[in-house]
């Protein structure tokens, strides 16, 4: 499984973000290192929604933080508009120069309540971006712009003027977070588990809202979630991650209808209402995800993979194409529904 490689990168000029060979590591107290993300690469085209899916410890949230350089990665490159003249390599920037680029990439988080400053009034929270970057207003009045954004996310701006976050529901707080992110009209919006903490009956409202915002402001989305069904629904392209590495990447429908990687198949078969095309898939072996302090050699999934062989321990699989816009990092992928004997 887990593999490195860049075969799935597209060298087109409408690629708005490229992440190459990203490495994120965190020292623990005892001279050990958590290998959160190892040699990860991906790109996104303008207007695309990229879904990143995986279980806990796979590094998807860490990847999101790395893209916004909070904290900056240990190594690797994150580049905006890489194939154009205005390419900006975020990883090469620091301090004030990095700060100047920030309005272009914004983020919303999983916990709607914790995402908002409890001591500030909602109107102020949404305005904040425009106070920091008044030049983004382009002549419009601050109040008008904030009112417009609040209305577009479905929050009454009159009510928002004097109320604090705890006076709103979880779904409304998430809307406010979206408003705050969108008021600067960024190019990219990263959504880190945006609906996981919300009631099921309002998840669709927020997903719809994100789509609306995407259309209205021409956003490119990175959508991170552990929920396979939600990710398929919102994404154009999907990356499946495990223990800091990419397993499989490709067009959402292609990936879900013909999953090639054993881990992807296991994931799809484990969902409460499993995908129909993966019946008969063996389950992952054991509950224990290996520790990121000492990830397995070669393919990181091999300790739980029902198809693992000796080669998987010795050689890390490289991402390679199996069909049009469908890539997998595995020595023994399942192709066209047929299993290798």
């Amino acid at each position: 499984m887990a593999g490195s490689g860049t075969a799935h990168l597209r060298g087109r000029d409408d690629v708005i973000l490229r992440v190459q060979n990203l490495v994120m590591e965190f020292p623990t107290g005892r001279h050990q290192v958590v290998h959160a993300v190892s040699n990860l690469s991906f790109d996104i085209r303008r207007g695309e929604t990229l879904g990143i899916v995986g279980e806990s410890g796979c590094g998807k949230s860490t990847t999101a933080r790395a893209v916004v350089q909070l904290p900056p990665p240990i190594s690797g490159q994150v580049t905006l508009s890489p194939e154009t003249e205005d390419a900006v390599e975020l990883t090469a920037l620091e301090g004030e120069r990095l700060r100047q680029v920030r309005p272009r990439i914004q983020m919303i988080f999983q916990d709607p309540i914790s995402s908002l400053n409890p001591r500030r009034v909602v109107h102020d929270i949404v305005e904040e971006g425009l106070h920091i970057w008044p030049e983004r207003l382009q002549g419009q009045d601050i109040q008008a712009k904030v009112d417009e954004v609040l209305e577009s996310v479905g929050i009454d701006s009159v009510v928002a003027t004097n109320r604090r976050p705890h006076e709103f529901s979880g779904g409304q707080c998430q809307r406010i977070s979206i408003a705050r992110a969108v008021v600067l009209e960024p190019e990219i919006l990263i959504c880190d588990e945006p609906v996981s903490a919300l009631d099921v009956s309002i998840q669709a409202q927020i997903l719809d809202l994100l789509q609306e915002m995407k259309d209205r402001y021409g956003l490119t989305l990175i959508f991170i979630s552990h929920d396979l069904a939600v990710v398929r629904n919102v994404s154009d392209r999907v990356i499946v991650m495990y223990l800091g590495k990419v397993c499989e990447v490709g067009d959402a429908d292609a990936l879900y209808s013909a999953p090639a990687h054993p881990y992807t198949r296991v994931l799809l078969a484990s969902a409460p209402e499993p995908a129909k095309n993966v019946s008969g898939v063996e389950a992952a072996i054991g509950d224990e995800i290996p520790s990121p302090l000492a990830p397995p050699s070669g393919c990181r999934f091999r300790t739980r993979c029902p198809r693992a062989e000796i080669r998987c321990a010795e050689e890390e699989p490289v991402i390679s194409a199996i069909e049009d816009d469908h890539f997998v990092a595995c020595h023994f992928p399942i192709l066209n529904g047929k299993q290798r004997e």
Binding site: M107, I113, S114, P165, R180
Partner: protein
């Protein structure tokens, strides 16, 4: 199970659930006793400020009343061995006790608070350096510090106040740092940085308002501590040399003979200090509870 009908105040399931809802639940009221405590404080503070204008005896004047006389209609709190009016002295003594107490806690909060917030937010070597300073200050024996200061800079009002504020700084810094760290980890701070706010802006607009609330509740409690600390220093002769505070009065009144023959000389300043500190503790604690529940309602999961 079903027969008990207690009225439950404060944190109910509804409180926690309402973190997601509208502010239909009002905060627990501060209470009648809170306002009594505040009234006492106001009384003491006002009396201390307007002391020169009050129609009371000159606190230093000897022989205002008969020597060592208990409380009487002429001298409400009695007189000491020099015939000075204890009531007037109690009011005048408040001035130094309160000024030193006030100044040192406010200065301590300002300095310590800034250190804590900056260290807690920036982490890294800034935090380590500030932490080291705090560590050194904490390790320094307080009495020695005051002995040193009294020998070097003298025992003036400001000198003593500043010295006491230095003693306050480390505890405040640690507290402010701990509160800052819990807030700095929250997503709204990350969101502010992602928006492109400078570190200074994040500290002032995002962190500070959240740190101020719990810290200001502790300000009153801290004031009680500094008043008592000043009292202790005065008892040891290390407080303000010129003039007298409650602590000084207690020192004078606690000499063994005086204590036996004229207990009121020590009793009234002790009482004044006791009620003042009690009021501060009570009010401070009620404030702390008041803001604590709101915090739980917002961020608690």
């Amino acid at each position: 199970m079903s027969d008990q009908k207690q009225l439950f105040k404060g944190k109910t399931a509804a409180d926690r659930i309402s973190a997601q809802g509208s502010d239909q639940l009002s905060l627990p009221r501060l209470g009648f006793t809170f306002w009594i405590a505040i009234s006492w404080m106001v009384l003491v503070i006002v009396a201390a400020i307007v002391a020169p204008l009050l129609p009371i005896a000159d606190p230093e004047e000897i022989g205002v009343g008969p020597r060592t006389q208990g409380p009487s209609w002429d001298n409400w709190f009695g007189t000491d061995s020099n015939g000075r009016d204890v009531f007037s002295r109690t009011i005048w003594g408040a001035r130094i006790s309160l000024v030193v107490g006030f100044f040192s806690i406010v200065a301590g909060f300002l300095i310590g608070g800034t250190m804590g917030v900056v260290g807690g937010y920036r982490r890294g070597w800034t935090d380590q350096a500030l932490g080291f300073i705090v560590f050194v200050l904490l390790s320094f024996p307080v009495i020695i510090l005051f002995l040193l200061i009294s020998n070097i800079v003298g025992q003036g009002l400001w000198e003593v106040s500043i010295a006491l504020s230095i003693v306050v700084v480390p505890s405040v810094a640690r507290l402010a740092r701990a509160i800052t760290i819990t807030f700095a980890e929250r997503e709204f701070v990350a969101a502010a940085r992602i928006l492109g706010a400078t570190n200074r802006r994040v500290m002032v607009k995002e962190i500070l308002p959240n740190v101020l609330i719990p810290m200001s509740a502790l300000l009153l409690l801290g004031l009680g501590l500094t008043i008592v600390a000043e009292g202790g220093l005065a008892f040891l002769g290390l407080s303000v040399a010129d003039g007298f505070s409650w602590g000084k009065m207690i020192q004078l009144g606690a000499a063994p003979r005086t204590l036996q023959t004229a207990p009121w000389v020590a009793f009234f300043p002790i009482g004044a200090m006791f009620f003042t500190v009690l009021s501060l503790n009570w009010a401070g604690d009620r404030l702390r509870q008041h803001f604590d529940i709101r915090e739980l309602g917002i961020g608690g999961r």
